[in-house]
């Protein structure tokens, strides 16, 4: 089946979570994505969980999910022989995305330049960008997130700021690189012009829409940290029900009035204790008890059905054990099970979007590759002879 990105050739270099996330946006929709991995083992392969908690370089969950439909080749990009291979692989590529230190990235950019002329699209991912006094700093998912101002928002006042969860930041940085990379691919197809794109992890996170800086910058006012149930604009936050929690975003009308109707208390919609902005915070506990009493007799799915029927913005809070069986996930096949060599069935998220009705069972995502699985195949495709391939292996350029 033809997929939308069939015919594109994308090279990813670095083996990080960010670059793997970036490449996935292309490989899952038909592009030929060559994953160039370092001899030192890609970071993305080191991340737990592993099946039965047994470490294996080809069995880490993040690798299995992010490297679908890619081919793996190991190349030492620090050697001249490695650079020669990368130059040959990249010559007819639509896009090269790399996440390696600045000096190494600059070396590789140079092999794709003829004078000032860039021979292909290149996107670099680095913590602080390719220039500036911090360009050589070492950061990770935690510290990048702290830079972004979002950890600060994601906290309870007086307690330590929190990242969103492991690798949330670096995955987002990879997605940022994919978006601008795709634009570069489009432009090259239309105007034949290549771009050099510099994605700074800090800027990618801080410049996005939920950045605390951006919201502060417009008006210079600090937003209140809105952890937990709001006592000012309620109900907002998680409330206990019979078998778990329901999350609400129902503090403003008309949704608030709909909620009052739905729980059989239309009088609350006009009760000044709950509608007057000055009175409302004083009466939070009263309202909370009314809502929790109603929820206590219902499961989260029962409450979800009843309240959404009345147009109330709410949903159940689910844990991992519940995801696959959620009726919507089942209907849309949001999670798919695939056979992975050496493991058996694994479950990963399905396609992040559906184009022209292309649903999970028709989605042509292939299992993630074993380390260096395609080294010989890719080298042969690019004109290397048998003896040359052995020589590269002997020299430690490939493994």
């Amino acid at each position: 089946m033809t997929q939308p990105l069939n015919g594109l050739k994308i090279i990813e270099i670095g083996g990080t979570v960010s670059v793997s996330a970036a490449g996935k946006k292309f490989s899952d929709f038909g592009a030929n994505v060559i994953k160039i991995e370092p001899p030192s083992v890609s970071d993305v392969r080191k991340i737990a969980p592993f099946p039965d908690d047994i470490f294996h370089i080809d069995k880490g969950a993040v690798h299995l999910a992010f490297d679908t439909s890619k081919r793996s080749i190991v190349i030492d990009h620090l050697t001249n022989s490695g650079k020669e291979i990368i130059q040959r692989l990249g010559k007819d590529a639509d896009l090269i995305i790399m996440d390696i230190p600045v000096t190494e990235a600059q070396d590789l950019i140079n092999i794709f330049k003829d004078g000032d002329n860039l021979l292909t699209n290149v996107v670099t991912i680095t913590p602080h960008g390719m220039t500036g006094p911090y360009k050589d700093r070492v950061e990770n998912d935690l510290t990048l997130f702290g830079w972004s101002t979002r950890s600060h928002r994601h906290s309870i006042a007086g307690r330590e700021p929190l990242r969103y969860g492991p690798y949330a930041g670096v995955v987002q940085i990879g997605s940022t690189a994919a978006a601008v990379g795709m634009a570069a691919v489009w432009s090259k197809r239309n105007e034949g012009m290549n771009r050099l794109v510099d994605v700074s992890g800090v800027e990618a996170l801080m410049g996005n829409v939920d950045s605390g800086f951006f919201l502060w910058a417009v008006n210079g006012a600090l937003q209140p940290r809105s952890a937990g149930q709001s006592s000012g604009l309620y109900p907002s936050g998680a409330y206990k029900c019979k078998d778990g929690y329901m999350l609400f975003s129902a503090g403003r009308d008309p949704v608030y009035s709909r909620l009052c109707n739905a729980i059989g208390r239309p009088d609350l919609a006009t009760d000044k204790r709950f509608t007057d902005p000055e009175e409302k915070p004083k009466n939070f506990e009263i309202f909370k008890k009314i809502l929790e009493d109603w929820l206590a007799t219902r499961t989260k799915y029962e409450a979800f059905d009843e309240l959404q029927e009345q147009g109330v913005m709410c949903c159940p809070v689910l844990d991992a054990s519940e995801l696959e069986n959620d009726p919507q996930s089942v209907y849309r096949k949001s999670y798919i099970t695939r056979n992975q060599d050496g493991i058996g069935d694994i479950t990963i998220a399905g396609p992040p979007f559906r184009m022209n009705g292309l649903y999970s069972d028709a989605w042509e995502s292939k299992p993630a590759p074993n380390l260096s699985e395609h080294t010989t195949e890719i080298l042969q495709e690019h004109g290397y002879g048998t003896q040359e391939i052995i020589a590269l292996f002997r020299a430690g350029v490939t493994t």
């Binding site: 929709f29 700021p161 801080m206 502060w216 952890a227």
Partner: protein, 420 residues
């Protein structure tokens, strides 16, 4: 002039809040011509505020409140604005012409709404077979939750993410609402719509893209479903820690609500860190903490020692010192702190925007730098209806047509003056 990567692509936005509008701004940053069809006479969600004296989202100034709300500015640059009532016959005619003009239509109504408005995919492609239509309803366009409504914070909860984000041993009542789908969905849909334009090169026809925001969140945290399926465990919050790395956390620094993130992923970084702390013996072979195994066994003790070390330092100064020794370390920035970053100033990241109703301030810059045509903020967030005449004339409407539409409040440039 801004980047020209997407020059020639016409984007039609009928979307609210951020997942749609912010992506359209990014398309504008990349050179697309974006027209935002803004709700009229009902205000867009991001233009609603309470009492400006009480609502911290409203910037100081004299103009209309709905033009001074930060949530609106952040997600509406580099596009033109047409304030249109698409429920009127005249508004529908305008929308039909815009669909003929567009390469991409972005809509973010709850599932089924666009069909009820008469602009479902079958109608849209009949008007313009080359247009791609993107629908961004949270749960997608099919299934038992068709038509249900929620903000991004809810998709986060239903994707299983909220329960792994909080403090260790925290309760769901403490859940901190975040807007991760608003931040990340645009990055996915840009790839999707540009992919559809490549597909159009082959087929000559546009595509329909159904992006369920909850599904775009699902792929981003593969560890959640895998921990359950591989090992029959429900993932719990790790906060700022990492099960395989010690130290890896957020530590108190000098000053109120001031913090620093530090991680030592290797023995070498550990040695540098403890040397700076005045305890180089902790990195000697005979000491249990010299190995990662020993450090993992003593996570709490080590964190306690680091907190003692960091508490008297300024977070920026200490991060500089630690980074100089190759240690992963960074201050945790509060919203105003980026202005103190020499890196961001060196890269000219901040942007100054001239806007009639908000004070001149340094705003955040772009997600990327591009050579040879860098992005620029050519168009600040447009005022409501600011480009009504220009757009309508471009679509072939006469001055008299426009006058009539304004009289009937099909279009407008002031929510305060709307009578409906």
């Amino acid at each position: 002039m801004t980047s020209q990567l997407l020059k020639g692509i016409n984007v039609l936005e009928i979307a609210e809040v951020w997942a749609g509008p912010f992506g359209c701004s990014l398309m504008g940053d990349l050179g697309a011509d974006v027209i935002k069809v803004e709700s009229y006479p009902r205000k867009s969600e991001t233009r609603n505020a309470g009492d400006p004296k009480l609502d911290p989202r409203v910037a100081e100034g004299e103009g209309p409140i709905y033009e001074r709300i930060n949530t609106h500015h952040h997600g509406n640059r580099n596009k033109r604005n047409l304030a249109l009532d698409i429920r009127t016959p005249e508004g529908r005619e305008v929308l039909t012409r815009l669909i003929k003009w567009g390469d991409i239509l972005v809509e973010s109504f709850s599932a089924g709404t666009i069909d009820r408005l008469g602009y479902g995919w079958d109608t849209v492609r009949e008007i313009n077979e080359r247009i791609t239509m993107l629908s961004l309803a949270g749960w997608g366009q099919e299934g038992p939750y068709l038509g249900r409504i929620m903000f991004g914070v809810g998709f986060d909860a239903m994707a299983g993410h909220s329960l792994i984000r909080g403090y260790q041993n925290g309760t769901p009542e403490e859940m901190i609402p975040i807007l991760h789908s608003d931040a990340t969905v645009p990055l996915t849909w840009i790839v999707a719509v540009l992919g559809s334009l490549i597909e159009r090169e082959r087929s000559g026809k546009g595509s329909y893209i159904d992006l369920a925001q909850i599904e775009d969140l699902a792929w981003q945290f593969p560890g959640i479903i895998s921990e359950w399926k591989m090992n029959n465990r429900v993932a719990s919050p790790v906060a700022n820690s990492d099960p395989s790395i010690v130290p890896h956390g957020c530590y108190k620094s000098a000053g109120e609500d001031s913090w620093i993130n530090i991680a030592a992923e290797t023995d070498s970084q550990w040695e540098s860190l403890v040397t700076m702390m005045g305890h180089s013996e902790w990195a000697e072979l005979k000491h249990p903490w010299s190995s990662i195994i020993g450090r993992i066994d003593s996570r709490a003790d080590i964190n306690s020692h680091i907190n003692q070390f960091t508490k008297d330092y300024d977070s920026f100064d200490l991060a500089d010192k630690l980074q100089a020794q190759g240690i992963i370390a960074a201050p945790v920035l509060s919203p105003p702190d980026p202005l103190m970053s020499p890196q961001l100033h060196d890269r000219n990241w901040f942007q100054i925007i001239d806007h009639p109703y908000i004070p001149e301030r340094l705003l955040g810059g772009f997600l990327w730098k591009i050579e040879p045509d860098p992005p620029s903020w050519d168009q600040r967030a447009a005022l409501v209806g600011e480009n009504n005449d220009e757009i309508l004339m471009q679509l072939g409407f006469s001055s008299d047509d426009i006058l009539q539409m304004r009289k009937k409040e099909v279009i407008g440039d002031s929510y305060d003056e709307a009578t409906r």
